[in-house]
């Protein structure tokens, strides 16, 4: 669908409040050859920092708005940001001019090593100060606001004192950053830790929500029949997450929404079908924008 000119809130960049899909290398050819109807595309920033991938993205960028979704800045690292990495991101930002830039509420780097995962932070005042300092630094360096995404997690730290939704809201309030609300992550973490996913959504500050993520996850049977939900982005969005997405739209209004699919990647058409489903829910929200219950 064509980009809409719907009004955009402070946290919302120049992306249409429509459905996009995550772009992975195996789909480059199909996108460039077929130019499918999709409102926008999002890439993992770290996959497109230079060379051939960045050149291909430049070609794709001529036809689609693009968002950068980082997995390597490690906003929660106690030892500070990797400034060389931030500079490489800034150079890619200059070439692509992404409509949105986002990162995660997590950490990945310690002792100069990148642990290749979005690791859970202890939700303490110390971590809050560190994350806010790093978000400030990134936003100052890039001269624009970023969005910070709620992670999915498989463990909680004993000394955490702040609920995740409050922590995220505090980061947004203190730094002016937006929030990337990943409804699949909310569902995964809520199931894994016994939280109420609807209460999580209700606690997020609506005007800060700049993007919503949708994805599939898997269920692993561990120790004594216990089930843990793993955020592997390798399947279709489950009905419970679609329901949570509908509720998020009712609360936050139409927000740019993205279908992520990173492992067991299917044909491009499967992703387009999932995005079409998100589009239908977005359209429905536009028809009945003000839900009295959540207003």
């Amino acid at each position: 669908m064509p980009p809409s000119s719907a009004s955009i809130g402070a946290a919302r960049g120049p992306l249409p409040a429509a459905a996009g899909i995550g772009l992975r290398f195996p789909h480059h050819e199909a996108i460039l050859a077929a130019r499918p109807r999709i409102a926008w595309l999002e890439v993992h920033t770290e996959n497109y920092l230079g060379g051939t991938p960045l050149r291909i993205l430049e070609a794709i960028r001529r036809d689609y708005p693009v968002a950068f979704h980082g997995v390597g800045l490690s906003l929660g690292s106690a030892e500070g940001l990797d400034l060389a990495h931030l500079e490489r991101i800034a150079r890619a930002v200059q070439r692509i001019a992404p409509a949105l830039i986002s990162e995660h509420l997590s950490w990945s780097i310690v002792g100069g090593c990148y642990l290749a995962d979005l690791l859970p932070l202890p939700l303490t005042e110390e971590a809050l100060d560190i994350v806010c300092g790093h978000v400030d630094r990134v936003q100052t360096f890039l001269k624009r606001h970023i969005l910070v995404e709620n992670p999915s997690s498989y463990l909680c730290w004993r000394h955490s004192t702040i609920p995740e939704w409050e922590f995220l809201a505090a980061v947004a309030a203190r730094t002016g950053c937006g929030i990337l609300c990943d409804v699949n992550n909310i569902y995964v973490s809520a199931c894994n830790h016994g939280w109420d996913p609807r209460a999580y959504l209700a606690a997020l500050p609506g005007p800060a929500i700049g993007e919503i993520h949708l994805a599939g996850h898997s269920v692993q049977e561990i120790e004594g029949g216990l089930r843990l939900r793993i955020d592997d982005h390798g399947s279709r969005v489950i009905p419970e997450v679609w329901a949570l997405y509908a509720e998020a739209l009712a609360r936050f209004g139409p927000v740019p929404s993205l279908v992520e699919w990173d492992t067991n990647l299917p044909e491009l058409q499967v992703l387009l079908d999932e995005a079409e489903r998100a589009t239908r829910l977005l359209d429905r929200t536009r028809e009945a924008p003000a839900d009295a219950e959540f207003a």
């Binding site: 230079g50 690292s77 106690a78 030892e79 202890p122 971590a127 730290w157 004993r158 692993q220």
Partner: protein, 267 residues
Amino acid sequence: MPSLLELQRAVFHSLVEGDDRMATPDVVAAGLTPAARLGIYRDNFVGTLMNALQLCYPAIHRLVGAEFFAGAARIFIAANPPRIADLNLYGEGFAEFLASFPPAATLPYLPGVARLEWAVNRAFHAPDAEPLDLARLAAVAAADQGRIAFRPHPAVALLAAEHPVDAIWRAVLARDDAAMAAIDLDAGPVRFLVERCDTAVAVTSLAEPEWRFAAALFASRPLDAAIAAAPESDAASLLAGHLAAGRLIGFALADTGNGAGAAENCR
């Protein structure tokens, strides 16, 4: 209560070194042991890097099989956790690791194939660079031309191997069993050039003198030294070829004939 840095170091020990003792006291158990919860992250860490290695070294993966590859990758990852968040550039040194990995000793060409795959991966992801401005080159006085020390494009690499690793690499990736069977491991050393062409990576065989000239040129030795390295070659036409292909992006004038210093940088 651990500081954030202490906790992150504890997680490093758990994920990279497999030692959970520092981290487990800080994990909420809640129906699942702390070790099991940390284990999920350790599996993600190893799995993600193994996937990155497999994407970088697809021919090695096929040559040794999934099980052997996973075993070797696990040991390599524990000893070489990534230093940067761009996993496209993870896996440097895997060739040297394989060369000193006793179970791989029966396949003497394996490190050479790995070196080629790393060069291909680097060429694919290397930054863009504008080719040398030929007008700047033309402006160098004739007397100074021998002192020109070129800077190569970051996506260009030269490789040499004792075994026909380029033929092995091609046959394995094409799953061409007939080509694989026809390879003579004792055919002698091979030399080739790896470079990016548009959005693909090309691997081109070079004759030995051609390779010697290019090696001196890409190592930023002065032109005189490169010519002296391959006296039997038509240096002018080889240089013209490198320039036309955009393999050289800048130059400096070396202080002396030995190529040690560079007085001025030019584009």
